[in-house]
């Protein structure tokens, strides 16, 4: 699903975010990107959804070479990716329904199917009754659940989550992790950048520890508890 070799990313400011990253993430895995602040987790995720183009090396996401891909290919790839942000990036001037339905509209779903699909994904995250609420009326945990519902609304094969539990208390973070794990069980590949290492005990997955823009350690989770 994701292949990268000697991936390098240098911002126009001159800062090197990724230097010689080589790794591979197989389809259907739950992968954690860990590491200190500035290790390159968010930059890597940005590369994965085509937010920035790598400076050198090779990066293939779902058979799309992101160094050579045109804008149309990048757009098409993004439609196959669900993205969850730490600050959830909900549109506060829009209802929960409109937020959740946005990816569906981008993909050209017919309007009469939108409400039913939005209700279904909101039911999954336990917020079916808040369909017509505005995000400002929701708690931080509920807002993050809406962001998860938005990311999963199109049943994407790949979900990227950039510290989705960063602003949440332990209990709410655990609930959010449960939802992500369930999505993974349903077939989506989940790649999540996180600082919360204690979540790894209760929600195990492959661990890619980054340090100074490079891969420092790689631990693969084998069902049954062995790593």
């Amino acid at each position: 699903m994701i292949e990268m070799r000697q991936l390098m990313l240098r911002y126009p400011t001159g800062k090197t975010a990724l230097s010689g990253m080589t790794m591979s993430i197989k389809k259907g895995r739950f992968a954690y990107l860990t590491g200190e602040s500035g290790a390159g987790k968010s930059s890597l995720l940005r590369c994965l959804y085509g937010g920035v183009r790598p400076s050198s090396g090779q990066l293939t996401v779902q058979n799309v070479d992101l160094r050579k891909a045109g804008e149309r290919q990048v757009r098409r790839l993004r439609r196959d990716i669900g993205i969850i942000f730490q600050d959830h990036r909900l549109l506060f001037s829009r209802t929960v329904f409109e937020n959740v339905a946005l990816p569906l509209r981008v993909q050209g779903w017919k309007p009469d199917r939108l409400v039913a699909r939005a209700e279904k994904v909101l039911e999954f995250v336990g917020l079916k009754d808040r369909l017509w609420s505005f995000p400002e009326a929701l708690s931080g945990g509920e807002q993050q659940r809406v962001a998860i519902a938005r990311a999963m609304s199109t049943k994407p094969p790949l979900i990227l989550a950039d510290e989705p539990t960063g602003n949440l208390d332990i209990e709410t973070a655990r609930h959010v992790m449960n939802y992500l794990m369930e999505l993974n069980r349903q077939g989506s590949t989940v790649i999540m950048a996180t600082h919360d290492l204690h979540l790894l005990d209760t929600h195990p997955g492959d661990i890619f520890r980054l340090h100074a823009g490079a891969l420092a350690e790689e631990l693969h989770y084998v069902r049954g508890g062995e790593q």
Partner: protein, 306 residues
């Protein structure tokens, strides 16, 4: 005492339930885009601009109606003294030959007598006495669109025969020419105002785009195509322009009502309805163009190359 105080503090610490915002929903569950300060400002500015254009066109319309009322009455009267009456037909022939003259008529004395008798009323017995001292008259009717120098040509011919021309009648023709020039100027002015409105709406939408940059960014991250991102803003621009046009049209009515008596006195009948579609569609077009301009670069930046 202290226990009561603590209880009160705890009570105050209870969060108040957030009252949920309610917005009218469109079919399909979508709500209208937020209408804030930027949109209101654009609406007001474009409305004022369209209203000004509308007022100018109304004034021109009134002027045209007024001068067109004269159009059928515009005549040059050339007067020849009685002692030169034998030159009358030669004068008429020369006048007829002038370019821009539609018709020339020598007014029969009988017609002059009838008109004079009618005009004098109770003093009609003086008609014959007056008629003998009045000059003979040749009536010249200009052709439509005749040149502004026709009056001078007529005056030149009249001078050759020792005749004179009614000077006041020249002013009517000059007023018509002025209206025609003003109309051309107004077309140009409307075009300039239109460009100004496009710029205003474009700048306003740029501000709206900045305010809603997160929405645009999110749509891009979700893989939205260029027109998916641009269309809501283009429609919003068109809607603002159209609403401004409608408002400007409505605001023309008080002006018409305020000047109603004056217009009736001048026998001028103007219609505000004629301006409804031009203002509405003109506003919407300016809004659409402004929005297209504002969103041209916005949606094409999809990925950052580093």
């Amino acid at each position: 005492m202290s226990g009561e105080r603590i209880n009160r503090r705890v009570d105050r610490a209870q969060p108040e339930a957030l009252e949920e915002r309610r917005m009218p929903r469109l079919p399909g569950g979508f709500s209208l885009p937020p209408f804030g300060l930027h949109q209101s400002l654009a609406l007001v500015i474009v409305c004022i601009a369209l209203w000004s254009v509308g007022v100018l066109w109304l004034v021109l319309q009134a002027g045209s109606v007024w001068t067109q009322g004269w159009q059928k009455d515009v005549r040059f009267h050339v007067y020849l003294q009685q002692q030169d009456a034998q030159k009358l037909n030669a004068l008429a022939g020369k006048l007829q030959a002038l370019p821009g003259v539609a018709a020339v008529r020598v007014i029969p004395q009988r017609e002059s007598r009838d008109w004079l008798a009618d005009w004098l009323g109770d003093a009609a017995e003086m008609t014959d006495e007056l008629l003998s001292s009045l000059p003979r008259t040749v009536e010249v009717r200009p052709a439509g669109g005749s040149g502004e120098f026709l009056y001078d040509d007529v005056a030149d011919v009249a001078a050759v025969f020792g005749a004179s021309v009614n000077r006041g009648e020249a002013h009517l023709v000059q007023a018509q020419h002025l209206m025609s020039k003003l109309q051309n100027l107004l077309w140009f002015g409307s075009l300039i105002m239109g460009l100004a409105m496009v710029t205003i709406i474009s700048n306003t939408l740029r501000m709206i785009l900045l305010a809603r940059a997160d929405e645009v960014q999110l749509m891009r991250l979700l893989g939205a195509g260029e027109w998916f991102v641009r269309l809501p803003f283009v429609l919003e621009g068109g809607l603002i322009g159209g609403m401004a046009g409608l408002l400007a049209w409505l605001l023309l009515w008080p002006l018409l009502l305020a000047t109603g008596d004056w217009l009736v006195q001048l026998n001028v009948d103007i219609s505000v309805f004629v301006l409804f579609l031009p203002l509405l569609l003109g506003g919407a077009l300016a809004g659409l163009l402004g929005a297209l301009l504002a969103t041209t670069r916005m949606a094409s930046e999809n990925t950052v190359s580093v």
